[in-house]
C-alpha cells in the first residue's frame, strides 16, 4: 500500500511533468491525497485525465461566472484552483453552473477545501449524482466509485448556509429530555453551590 505522503509527492511531480506549474502541482498533490483519504479514486482519475491532456494542455479558466458555458472542455484542476482562490467572493453567487468539466471528481477536493475556507457546506450536483462537502472534514456522495464520470454535462455548485436540519419542536422535545440530568435548585443550593458572589453589582 502507498502512503498518503507518497501519493501526494508522486501526484505533485507527475502534475509538474504534464505541464502544470509547481504551485498548481502542489495543489494537485494535496487534492489527490484528500480524495484517496476519503477513499475516492484520486490516483486512477488523475492518471486517466493526464493521458487525455498529455499532448494538449488545457486552457486556464480566467473568470468564473454564475453560468460557465464554453465550447471547450473545462479543466477540473484549473477550475478547482480558480474556485479555491476566489471562494470568498463566489459564495455570494449561491449557485454556480459549469458545463463540460473533464473528470469532475478532480474538482471535488478543491471544493472541499473551499468549504473549509468559507466555513459553509457545499453541495455539488453532478449530472445524476451528488456530493455534500463539509469543511474538508467529510465528503458524502451517492456516486459509485466505479461510475466515475469522464466528463460532466452539467455540474452545479451550491453554497449552503450553516443551518440546522431539525425543527424547533424537535429541538425543544430533546432539550426537555436533557433537563432531566439537572438538579432542581433550592435556596440552600443557590447560596452554597453557585460560583459567583451573592451580589454581582460591585
Amino acid at each position: 500500500m502507498m502512503s498518503f505522503s507518497e501519493i501526494e509527492t508522486v501526484s505533485k511531480r507527475a502534475s509538474k511533468a504534464i505541464g502544470y506549474s509547481w504551485g498548481i502541482s502542489e495543489e494537485i498533490g494535496k487534492s489527490i491525497r484528500i480524495l484517496e483519504m476519503f477513499n475516492l479514486p484520486g490516483i486512477s482519475t488523475l492518471n486517466q485525465y493526464f493521458k487525455k491532456i498529455k499532448n494538449n494542455h488545457p486552457q486556464k479558466l480566467k473568470n468564473i461566472l454564475k453560468i460557465n458555458k464554453s465550447d471547450d472542455e473545462l479543466c477540473p484542476i484549473y477550475t478547482g484552483v480558480s474556485i479555491l482562490d476566489n471562494c470568498n467572493q463566489l459564495e455570494d453567487l449561491n449557485i454556480i453552473k459549469f458545463f463540460n468539466i473533464n473528470y469532475p471528481l478532480l474538482i471535488i477536493p478543491f471544493l472541499s477545501r473551499s468549504s473549509e475556507i468559507i466555513n459553509k457546506p457545499i453541495h455539488v450536483i453532478l449530472d445524476e449524482g451528488k456530493y455534500i462537502l463539509n469543511s474538508n472534514k467529510t465528503i458524502l456522495t451517492n456516486i459509485e466509485k466505479s461510475n466515475n464520470s469522464k466528463i460532466s454535462k452539467e455540474l452545479t455548485i451550491q453554497f449552503e448556509e450553516n443551518k440546522n436540519l431539525f425543527t424547533d419542536t424537535e429541538w425543544k422535545e430533546l432539550y426537555k429530555l436533557s433537563e432531566d440530568t439537572f438538579v432542581p435548585e433550592t435556596d440552600s443550593l443557590k447560596n452554597s453551590a453557585a460560583g459567583a458572589g451573592l451580589t454581582d453589582n460591585d
Binding site: 498518503f4 505522503s5 507518497e6 509547481w22 504551485g23 486556464k60 480558480s82 482562490d85 476566489n86
Partner: protein, 554 residues
Amino acid sequence: MINIELRHPEDVMKLSRLGSFHQSKLSFLRSFIREFKNWEFNRDIFDLDKNGYGVVVYSVRKNKRIYSLICFSQHINAEERSDRVIATKWDAAFVLHDGVPTKNDIERLKENVPKQEIGRMSNKELALSRANKSVRIFDHVVNSLSSGKQPDVNLLNKVGYLYRTTAVYGSGKFGLADRFRIKDRKEICGPFRLEMMLVYLVRQFTFDQINHISKMKNPNEFVSLDKKIAKNLGIGNSTGLGMAPFIVNHPTLLHQWIYNREKALKEIRSIKYVSKKDIEHFKFCLEKSKKIIDTWYTDSKYQNKKIKSLKNDLIKFNEYFSSLKLISKKYLWNEIFLWIDKYLDEECSEYLISMMMEPYDNIIEPLVKNMSSDEEKYFNIPSNRKLIELKKIIETKYKSILNINFNDKKSNTFFWFISKNKEEPRIANRFEEYGSNLEQPLAIARDIKKVFEKISNKNLSKTVADFLVDNDELRHVIRRIFISEKFQYSEILDNTISETLIPIDMLRLKLSFFGAQKFDPRSDKWLRICMYQGAPLVNEIKNSDDTWIYDSIN
C-alpha cells in the same frame, strides 16, 4: 527591566550562521533521552550466526505502547560497501515497527528491509534505516575483544562509532506510516522522535553484535566491550543533500525550531540576576565540551577553518569571562551575549549560545514541546488579499533578498534537481550540466524577487487571486510569502543557488537540531557526523544526567 528582543531574522537566517549551529538542550536526541528514561527495554530475539549475521529484535515499552526495532545483518563484500546513496547493499538494515512484530511480519520485513528504497513497508512500520560498519574500527574491536583485550581508546575516539547509518527514513516513505497516524501520540511528542529512537536502539545493536562476534571467535579468551568505552561510542551518519530541500520544504517547522532557540536565548538574556549555581553549571559544561572539540577530526579545509576559529574564539571568550565580575551583575547573560555578538565569529557565538542554555531546564523544557508544526494549516493561500499587502510583506520580510541581482550568473549558478536513479536531491551548475529545465522549486530567493518585480508593475489594489490567474508559475512562492508573514524564521534569507552556496551549511542546520556532533564534511555536498556519543547505555538511561553529551572521553 530592560527590553530584550528576539534576534532579527536577517541576522539569524543567513546560511553562514545557520551552518554554524551546534547541538543544544533543544536538540532532538537529547530531548529524546530525557523522555526515554522511564521506558522498559528488552532484547526479544537474538538470532545471529558466528559472524553476526541474522535477525535481532529489541522492544521498548511505555504503558501500553510498544515499539520494536528489527535488525537484519548480512555479509557484504568490501567493494559493495558504500556510504553513497547509490549503494544497494548494506551491512545491516533496520526498521522500527509499531507494536510487537509477528513471525509473518518479520518474514515480510526480511524480504523488504534490506532492500531499503526498493522494498515496501506497511503502515505498521514507522522508520527505516541502514548502516555500514566502520571497518577499521569494527575489525580492531573484534580482534581486541576476542583476544581478551579492550580496544585502543585513542583510535576509537578518532572515529566515535562502530556503525554509520547512511539514511534514516520516516513519514510515509516507501510505504511507512504517514506522520498524521502517529503525530498525536503523547509519548513521542517531538519531531523525529521515532527516528531518534531507531538510531539509539541501533547503537545498542552494534554493541550486542560486536560482543557476540568476538565471543564466537574466541570463547575462551573473549572479554565484553567495557561499558565506559561503549558509552563513548555513538552512531555515525553519512548525510547527503537530501536534508537540504527538507528545510526549505517545511517552512513552518523550520520556524518552530529556530524560533524556540531564539526564544530560549531571549529568555536567558532577560534573567536579571544569574545564580552562582547556574554560572557554575555553564562553566562545567563549557570546560567539558572544550575537550571534545579536540576529538573533531576532519580533512575538510572548510571545517578545519571553522574549528580553528572556534578554538581561537573560545580562548578570547575565556579571557573575557574570567575578567567579568559574575555575581550580582544585572543581566549578566545579556552582557555576555552582546560581547559575544560583537567580538566573536558565528561559529563560536552559536556554540556559546547553546552552552548558555545548559543551566535552564525550566526555560528549555516548555520549548521542547513546541518544536513541531501543523503544516497543513498554513497551506492555503489567502488569495483574497491585495497585492499591496503582498508587496509590503516582501519588502519587510525579504529585504536582503531584493538586493540580489539574479541576472548575474554568479547569483544564478546552481539548480536543484531530483536524480532519476535514486529519487534523491542533487545540485548542479546550470551553465555546465544538463537538466536545469527540470529544476526543483528551491530557488526561493530568485522566485520571491520575481514576484516582487512582477507585482511592482501591477495595479496593487487587485487581489492575489487576480494576479495568480496569469502568474501561476509563482504560486509556490506566494504561498511561502504569506507563511513568512506569520512565521518570521520560516525562510533562509540567503541565495540557495548562488555560486558561493555551501550546501553543507543547510545540512548542518538540520543536523544541529538532531543533536549531531563531529561535523566532518567529505565535500561541500555531504558530511559525516556522530550521534549519541557519550549517551547512557540502555541499562543506565533511568539515572542518566542530561550533560551526558559532554561525558564522552571525559
